[in-house]
């Protein structure tokens, strides 16, 4: 593999014109194909901005963003996204919400009419995988927040995107639901091996899920530290009680504490 699947080179992003807020500056990172990378950082450090740049929702002010060796100049249909809120369409039943990307992504929308049964079976299978068997006919308001977030995860996966962008997808959930969904996400990732970029402020979440954790500085954000996560998969809740795990989380925490104070962190080689 000569080049990384996602390559961000010296990217800057400024909001609101020349005098606006500088959200990112000199931000560089690489993600290999099939890798699970978590990005953590103090709040307001531009993590979500990074997501939007990679998925092509916003153009970068400076620098290059390459995905699959192509310069990103607009939204990519090879991306699946999930946000902090479930962002389900309230007028659609759960199954129809999950199938929404199929109606939009060019490769699928042509075949959707003729192969609807096949696609529906696939959506139902995904719902089953995340523990929503039998809820396809419900409306979003009939489901709890955690169930809506599971649906949102299914919607991000249904068109089998090679790149999954998760923007704090579990942060609005209670701890137990969140830990359930970590297991679900790990299971999905192990089954399909998509490239994943997960933005989160939960350090345990990052350490549980990712192959590699990147730490961002305070605004303007850039990557100031990187840690490889050594634990074998599948990881379980027991993994999180290992002393090594606790140590890793403590390290990450100290990077972030330093970043909040604006100190330079010595980059730890992976």
């Amino acid at each position: 593999m000569s080049r990384a699947f996602v390559q961000i080179d010296n990217v800057a992003m400024r909001y609101g014109g020349v005098e606006g807020t500088l959200a990112l500056e000199g931000c560089s990172l690489e993600v290999q194909e099939g890798e699970f990378v978590a990005v953590v950082g103090p709040s307001g450090c531009g993590k979500s901005t990074l997501m939007r740049l990679v998925s092509g929702l916003w153009p970068a002010t400076d620098g290059n963003v390459l995905v699959a060796e192509r310069e990103v100049d607009g939204p990519l249909s090879l991306v699946g996204m999930a946000f902090q809120n479930p962002t389900l369409l309230p007028w659609r039943r759960i199954l129809d919400n999950v199938m929404l990307p199929l109606e939009v992504v060019p490769a699928h929308r042509k075949r959707l009419r003729s192969e609807r049964a096949k696609y529906e079976a696939k959506a139902l299978e995904l719902l089953k995988l995340v523990g929503l068997d039998g809820f396809g006919g419900k409306f979003p308001y009939q489901l709890s927040g955690g169930m809506q977030q599971r649906t949102s995860l299914c919607r991000a996966l249904i068109h089998e995107p090679p790149l999954l962008m998760l923007d704090e997808p579990f942060s609005a959930l209670d701890v137990f639901t969140r830990e359930d969904l970590w297991a679900v996400l790990q299971q999905v990732w192990m089954a399909r091996k998509p490239t994943v970029i997960l933005v989160t402020h939960d350090l345990r979440e990052a350490a549980y899920l990712a192959d590699r954790v990147l730490v961002m500085s305070a605004r303007p954000g850039r990557i100031i530290a990187e840690r490889r996560v050594p634990f074998p998969r599948p990881r379980t809740m027991e993994t999180t009680f290992l002393p090594e795990f606790t140590e890793l989380v403590a390290d990450l925490r100290s990077y972030i504490a330093a970043a909040r104070k604006g100190e330079e962190v010595e980059n730890v080689p992976a």
């Binding site: 939007r52 092509g56 007028w91 709890s144 068109h159 959930l173």
Partner: protein, 276 residues
Amino acid sequence: MSQRSNARLEAMAAAARRHRRLQAWLPWIVIASTFLLWEAAVEVLGVSTFILPAPTDVWAAAVRWWKPLLDDSLQTLITTLIGFGLAVVAGLLLGVAIGSSTLVYKGLYPLLIAFNSIPKVAVVPVLIVWFGIGVWPAIITAFLISFFPIVVNVATGIATVEPELRDVLRALGAKPSDIIRKVGLPRAMPYFFASLKVAITVAFVGSIIAESVAPNAGIGRLMMVASSRFDVPLVFAGLIVTGIMGIALYWIAEWIERRTTGWATRGQDQNLATGG
């Protein structure tokens, strides 16, 4: 213990049933008591029929003139519905345009507001000059008066789509037309139906104004003719028939609204799924 809680549940269910029954009957009770009060007031105070006819006088006039009353109200109903139908089509199209483009919004909105501030009575003579005395001035007045609320509501519904919802589709490479079709329009539907309930009632106002200014046909003309003959009970009969038509169409709009946008009112009696 469980017996007691069962009894309590049953009592609560019975109270809910009584409440629902009261809700269903309340409008009729209010209408009936209004008429009774009216009748009694006219009787007791000895108001002359010429000033305020009692409901029984109105009823007598309605029975006596049932044929022209029926013909003219049907005429007004058709005129109103045509104008209203045109307003729905034009209002949806313009509402989508205004709601999805800031340029169209900034460009058109001041003109629309100016136009809506013009009293429609003042427009009718112009319409008569253009289209002659006939059904068209009434149709167009109904259209003009009911068009605005539809535009404003549909535009609001589309313009207030949550950015995150739009991002979900944009991230998938959706075209702007996809976003309007899949997110904007469905989201604007509750707003659209809310505006229909306003629009249908003001559409009546429009067509009746035109019918009274340019008396050709319809319930407006009937009331003009009746008042010029000092037949006040018949004028009141016309007013009441108009009110009844308004309520009927309002109910139809509400029924369609309930059938199509139940998600927005989130059926309160449905059980929430648990877990998560």
